[in-house]
């Protein structure tokens, strides 16, 4: 990828470590990636690999037990890691970057009308009055396919799919540049899932929004992905454009992960990855995947560098040095 393309988000050396009684958990450990305007990057990885922590680190939604939180996050030409908490809250969160957290559809306020909830970020962050904010909410409802009269309903009156749409409308109501979606479809039925993915494709086209989609569902992720970042044990081990990634993943972990997806239309027998991911309390010093890797050799005891290949794909593995 050339530099002119990377004009929305650039993450460099981002680290987020938590302090626990047992020691330091290295949830996000030196993550680099770029995101262009109107693009979707999918972050895939197993549970506990730090992908949700990555989202929280970008949006600075942190718990109290922080041990380390550093690195650079450039949004357009501004390093937002340097902002103080107040200006981050006022100028970045919701306005520039919004998020649909995991299980957002179950986190809607049960005693507030859906319309008021969806309109609230527009009132708080854009300073709109209630009437304009509701009008904006209505526009977003139309965008995500929620009937207009749902503005006056409560969360319990909506089905799961409709609530997820409302959560998505809320994240879009301030017209941010970037929306981070954490497992947006994992609790939904197949048809609803397909509907929501259709919707995001349309939103991406019509509102010129960028997405970071965090998921463990590789098949669904391919519905939206322009780029794929594979995360393993707190680190990104491969970044690639979707077309080449889904055809031919580079990192042994990506290859194993792709091979473990059951196919509906092909007759390949799926495989599984033996062993378990390492503990983030005390990750191995060399390559973190080495213990489960079929291609392991002696150099893997040292930490592999991130290799940038001629075609722009990046892979953190000694095989490609």
């Amino acid at each position: 990828m050339d530099a002119t393309n990377n004009d929305l988000l650039m993450v460099r050396g981002l680290r987020l470590h938590f302090q626990t009684r047992k020691g330091v958990v290295q949830a996000v450990d030196g993550v680099d990636f770029d995101l262009s305007r109107n693009q979707a990057t999918v972050v895939i990885g197993e549970s506990g690999c730090g992908k949700s922590s990555l989202a929280k680190a970008i949006l600075r939604l942190l718990p109290r037990n922080i041990n380390t939180y550093d690195g650079e996050v450039w949004l357009r030409n501004e390093n937002i890691m340097e902002l103080n908490d107040e200006s981050f809250r006022r100028d970045i969160r919701w306005k520039k970057i919004s998020m649909v957290p995991q299980a957002a559809m179950n986190a809607l306020n049960p005693v507030m009308r859906i319309g008021d909830q969806v309109a609230e970020p527009a009132m708080v962050h854009l300073g709109l009055n209630k009437k304009d904010a509701l009008a904006q909410a209505l526009r977003m409802f139309e965008q995500v396919g929620v009937p207009a009269d749902f503005l006056h309903r409560y969360a319990f009156e909506l089905s799961g799919g409709m609530r997820q749409r409302a959560a998505l409308a809320m994240s879009l109501v301030t017209l941010p540049d970037l929306v981070i979606l954490d497992e947006p479809t994992s609790a939904l039925d197949v048809l609803t899932q397909a509907n929501i993915m259709n919707l995001m494709k349309r939103v991406k086209k019509e509102l010129d929004t960028s997405f970071i989609l965090i998921t463990h569902d590789i098949a669904t992720s391919s519905e939206l992905a322009d780029n794929v970042a594979v995360m393993y044990a707190g680190q990104i081990v491969e970044v690639s454009d979707a077309r080449r990634f889904f055809r031919e993943p580079l990192h042994p972990y990506s290859q194993k992960l792709m091979a473990s997806v059951p196919r509906l239309r092909e007759t390949v027998e799926p495989d599984f990855i033996t062993g378990q991911p390492p503990s983030l309390l005390n990750p191995p010093t060399g390559c973190r995947f080495a213990d489960r890797c079929p291609a392991r050799f002696d150099r893997c005891d040292e930490e592999p560098p991130t290799v940038v290949r001629g075609d722009g794909r990046k892979v953190k593995c000694w095989l490609y040095v």
């Binding site: 899932q193 463990h216 889904f246 194993k256 992960l257 059951p262 196919r263 495989d271 599984f272 378990q276």
Partner: protein
């Protein structure tokens, strides 16, 4: 082969001389809705006229979205719900005629694998205690025999070394290991039938296949009958011989697995297949065809075919008036859709 409710079993041809292990006969499970705690306010028709047979040693997948009645069907098979109408015949025993102590024995012959392993395991019990519980309840008094049985089961589900696992508590295990404990608990009574309710949907992609293969191995080595409930069509092909699709409390299509995946008939089955994706970058370029609307209320299901308000091929005047019967479209392949009624000339 024949049963009083019509020929609804696709596998009947292969096993014409055997009595099926499990027969679901015109099963209805309705839940009564009460107004103010006592006034009758209608029924939720969770399962509405389901028929199928399952032979010893066969795996059958049940596919449907949430709220289609698949959990109610399963709970009835497990003996947790009473049938409102119709019957479940398991191992020559009619559920409607089974009560008290007999019902306990009935339940002991069916293993149940829950969806969420962490929620299904009591957090304050050791693995040994969790696996001992069903044996104690079912009157296995000899402690040594119990421990022997538990060890054998744990080895079968490949949770080794057994000695290290036994004293552990559920939170000390990974998701895949927890699910193995759940499977071990279902297997410890050496059941004839295993009901697995979305056994891999909460697990990571990398271990899903491992668990599915384990279930498949258990099925083959123990000649188990398995009902595999899922909403994910892509895992079905690696697991089951037969598959049926449920919509709004009814079975709308039933066939051999390959037949259904290769040549789906019902518009709803087609929609489900269309909505399931394989990892492929081309997916991002196309919009998926998804039927509009949502599954109907089971209190007041639509007249006629229950899929008719969402169906792209609806035939007004027929589909919204008359409920479609099962049409046989190929040997062992039945579909409840008017499109396949040759007499009506619609197809």
């Amino acid at each position: 082969m024949s049963n009083s409710n019509g020929d609804t079993s696709p596998q009947a041809h292969a096993h014409s001389d055997e009595q099926p292990l499990l027969q679901i006969q015109d099963l209805h499970v309705w839940y009564e809705l009460k107004r103010f705690g006592f006034g009758h306010a209608g029924y939720v028709r969770a399962v509405d006229g389901v028929n199928f047979d399952l032979q010893q040693g066969e795996a059958m997948a049940c596919v449907g979205e949430s709220g289609c009645g698949k959990s109610s069907l399963m709970k009835t098979i497990l003996g947790l719900n009473r049938p409102t109408k119709g019957d479940v015949v398991f191992d020559n025993q009619k559920l409607t005629e089974t009560f008290g102590e007999d019902l306990r024995l009935y339940r002991a012959k069916i293993g149940y694998v829950q969806q969420d392993p962490f929620g299904a395991l009591p957090p304050f019990m050791s693995i040994q205690r969790i696996l001992e519980e069903p044996l104690i309840i079912n009157g296995m008094k000899d402690k040594n025999a119990r421990v022997e049985r538990i060890k054998k089961t744990l080895e079968e589900v490949k949770l080794t070394p057994v000695e290290e696992i036994l004293p552990k508590f559920p939170h000390m295990l990974s998701g895949g290991q927890q699910q193995r404990v759940v499977i071990a608990r279902a297997m410890v009574m050496e059941p004839k039938l295993l009901v697995a309710d979305e056994p891999v949907s909460m697990l990571d992609a990398s271990v899903r296949v491992e668990i599915l293969r384990l279930l498949r191995n258990l099925q083959e080595t123990h000649d188990l009958a398995v009902i595999y409930i899922t909403h994910d069509l892509s895992t079905v092909r690696y697991f089951s011989e037969y598959i049926f699709v449920m919509y709004a409390g009814e079975v709308i299509e039933i066939a051999k697995m390959e037949d259904l995946l290769k040549d789906p008939k019902h518009p709803y089955t087609l929609a489900l297949l269309e909505a399931s994706s394989d990892p492929n970058a081309d997916n991002a370029l196309v919009m998926r065809e998804v039927p509009r609307g949502e599954p109907p209320s089971l209190v007041n299901p639509p007249q006629g075919c229950r899929f008719n308000p969402r169906c792209p091929k609806v035939m007004p005047g027929l589909c919204d008036v008359k409920e479609p019967p099962n049409f046989l479209v190929a040997p062992g392949h039945r579909v409840a859709c008017w499109l396949y009624d040759e007499a009506s000339g619609a197809h």
